[in-house]
Assembly symmetry: none
Homo-oligomer: 402 residues x 2
């Protein structure tokens, strides 16, 4: 089924849908206990919800595919994650609220450290502070004014991260990353993957070379690495597709960026997960859809911190009654992908999901965990179909055919 079939069936309603996205929630068993992070955590509230819900497991992209957070979130929001896949550059631009323009080309910049032979010794330049990042961007912008072929702009993001904007005519995005992704190697030479991108490729090589000369005297941030070249593109908005006025309560730039790309209202950054749930409560009557994004589960998973991830899950569990008390018509709890602590990285394993609604047909699942959700009534399904299920349970889809 084409995921966009649901767009043709959307009807107006006043019902409310809440997506609580526990980033990287899916896990793998701890070697000592045989239980995953979610199975280890004490989660009375999630379990109680699971008993009244329909559960299942979601494949963000496809069998065996480990997703980046970008495509996984597109899938969560009902956008085909392969068709809508987009370079990190565009997500970075959206995340920092850069005023994007048709024709722009973006790339994500890492300030990095290279030794005298040009080998990368630190891909994050010792995590320079954000002020240093801003100062370096200013210097680069001064020195790169008047580059032939495009306006060049470096915009600071956070710590060692920045955005490169090339604004010109006929710029192409079919350029490979210069980030070697490993230390001990030199930056990669960018390649054009289609002949039409050759002019842009030369421009990027020139910008990179000039940037290195400008940064040469820096102790740590003496080079730049580029990845995720992406031209500006416009997305059909979430509200346009589904008729849902949406609020994103997410604290990290990338997720804020995706929400913004899809036209969601983005809530100001909050101080804690507890505050995120508070913001949900305060705004509950003002929107029809809430995307509440919790980063801690993924962060602990990426750190390989099994116990930390368990704790993060237990903290969320303690906040679940606050959402339930708001009585959303549909409450979905899931993740964008798995980040098993034992792998300390994103993985391809499917993600447990729970959908609670007065109209859900319950199944036999008693606990919210990977093994239990396998036996759930939703079965195993591509993540992109979750949005249609949420809309259906919120009575926001009309009948298909006579």
């Amino acid at each position: 089924m084409n995921p966009e079939l649901i767009d043709t069936l959307v009807v107006e309603n006043t019902t409310t849908i809440v997506f609580v996205i526990l980033d990287g929630i899916g896990g793998l068993p701890h070697p000592d206990t045989g239980r995953t992070e979610l199975e280890t955590a004490v989660t009375p509230n999630l379990d109680s919800l699971a008993r009244q819900s329909i559960c299942g497991i979601l494949d963000p992209i496809g069998y065996g595919i480990t997703p980046g957070s970008g495509p996984a979130h597109f899938a969560l929001f009902g956008y085909d994650p392969v068709i809508h896949n987009v370079g990190r550059g565009l997500l970075t631009a959206a995340g920092i609220e850069f005023a994007m323009k048709e024709g722009d080309l973006y790339a994500r910049v890492n300030f990095a450290t290279a030794d005298e032979k040009g080998m990368i010794t630190d891909r994050r330049a010792g995590r320079i502070d954000t002020e240093t990042c801003a100062r370096l961007c200013r210097r680069l912008n001064e020195h790169l004014t008047g580059t032939a072929g495009a306006d060049v702009l470096f915009v600071p993001e956070k710590e060692h991260r920045a955005l490169l904007v090339l604004r010109g005519d006929n710029l192409r995005e079919e350029i490979t990353d210069t980030d070697p992704e490993l230390t001990g190697k030199p930056p990669r030479v960018p390649r054009a993957t289609v002949p039409e991108a050759e002019t842009t490729r030369r421009l990027i090589e020139e910008v990179t070379a000039r940037a290195r000369r400008v940064l040469a005297a820096e102790l740590r941030a003496n080079t730049i690495l580029l990845r995720g070249f992406a031209r500006f593109r416009e997305y059909r908005t979430f509200e346009g597709r589904f008729g849902l006025k949406a609020l994103a309560i997410a604290n990290y730039p990338m997720y804020r960026g995706i929400a913004r790309l899809l036209g969601m209202t983005v809530h100001p950054v909050t101080a804690s997960v507890r505050d995120q749930f508070g913001s949900l409560r305060e705004n509950f009557r003002r929107y029809h859809f809430f995307f509440l994004h919790v980063k801690a589960t993924d962060a602990r998973g990426e750190d390989g911190n099994f116990d930390g991830k368990v704790k993060a899950i237990e903290e969320i569990d303690s906040l679940i009654p606050e959402v339930v008390a708001l009585k959303p018509d549909v409450l979905v709890i899931t993740g964008d992908h798995s980040t098993p602590a034992v792998m300390a990285s994103h993985s391809w394993h499917p993600v447990p999901v729970l959908l609670s609604s007065a109209l859900c047909r319950p199944d036999a699942v008693m606990h919210f965990g990977e093994r239990d959700c396998i036996t759930g009534g939703l079965g195993r399904l591509p993540m992109v179909y979750l949005m249609g299920l949420a809309l259906a349970h919120a009575r926001r889809l009309s009948k298909f055919g006579a």
Copy 2:
């Protein structure tokens, strides 16, 4: 997998397949008991069959999509329900055995009541009797003779329902319904959804206006509402695709219409469900495929009559031994979609299915019910693939590839 892949594998055999379709069989839990209609019904025969069968749950169209009966039946018969979706007009024409012709445009007509301001007060004109319907069609046909652009024909169906046939050149079906679907509103003005349909749209507006003048003096049926515009089209026949001589034992026009569109033989209307099973027995040696359609389950569901639906299920259960005694090579029991009594409407929830055959690999399912079928060996699958499974278990498909 393309559902038409199976067509290339079909081989001859003499085996028999029976589909018992319990319309709207899928349900939702009763708030007092937590059990669905199927889980509430006492069904020793279906349960006994389930123990020797392979079970699962079927999505008629896709996750979250509530199907009309038309596309759901296309899916049951192995026809992609989105590609083959067709306006109600064509199903009505086929259902009343109208002699269809290439180029015809059909619409389903409701005679309706409008007040002096033109607002619809009854979408079914007080369910006028079939004789009145026939009389009104005759009058309309007399008065609308000589309409420029097409021959106009109203054909009575049943009670307030009729068929509108426009026979002419270059008629288009891309016209929106005039039925407002609610009372207290005027009929909708038809819209052409592609520019090429504008001539047809004007013709339909004229036919509607003239029909209203003809009907103006009627007390109840003083206007018409049109929906489901559809041009004639030919389908690849069921027998042509699968090599199965098929008999449809269905009493409602819509299902008889679909069967006829697909080239099945349609059994005369019978007086009761018991007679339908009797007709199956009588014809058992004369066909290879039987489509036995039971309407009561859906009708009680649509009425919101939980207990009535339970009773209808129990009546079917009592008839199941008659089918089993015939020893079909494959016996499938399922529905076309869910019609939970608590919703009193079609819904998107998947449909339990049971496939019984000497070659099925049984699973652990002990009862024929929604929650049990979730754990069945067929898993959760798109309904369109059911036909291939039936053919395989009937040894009617050859090997794919070397």
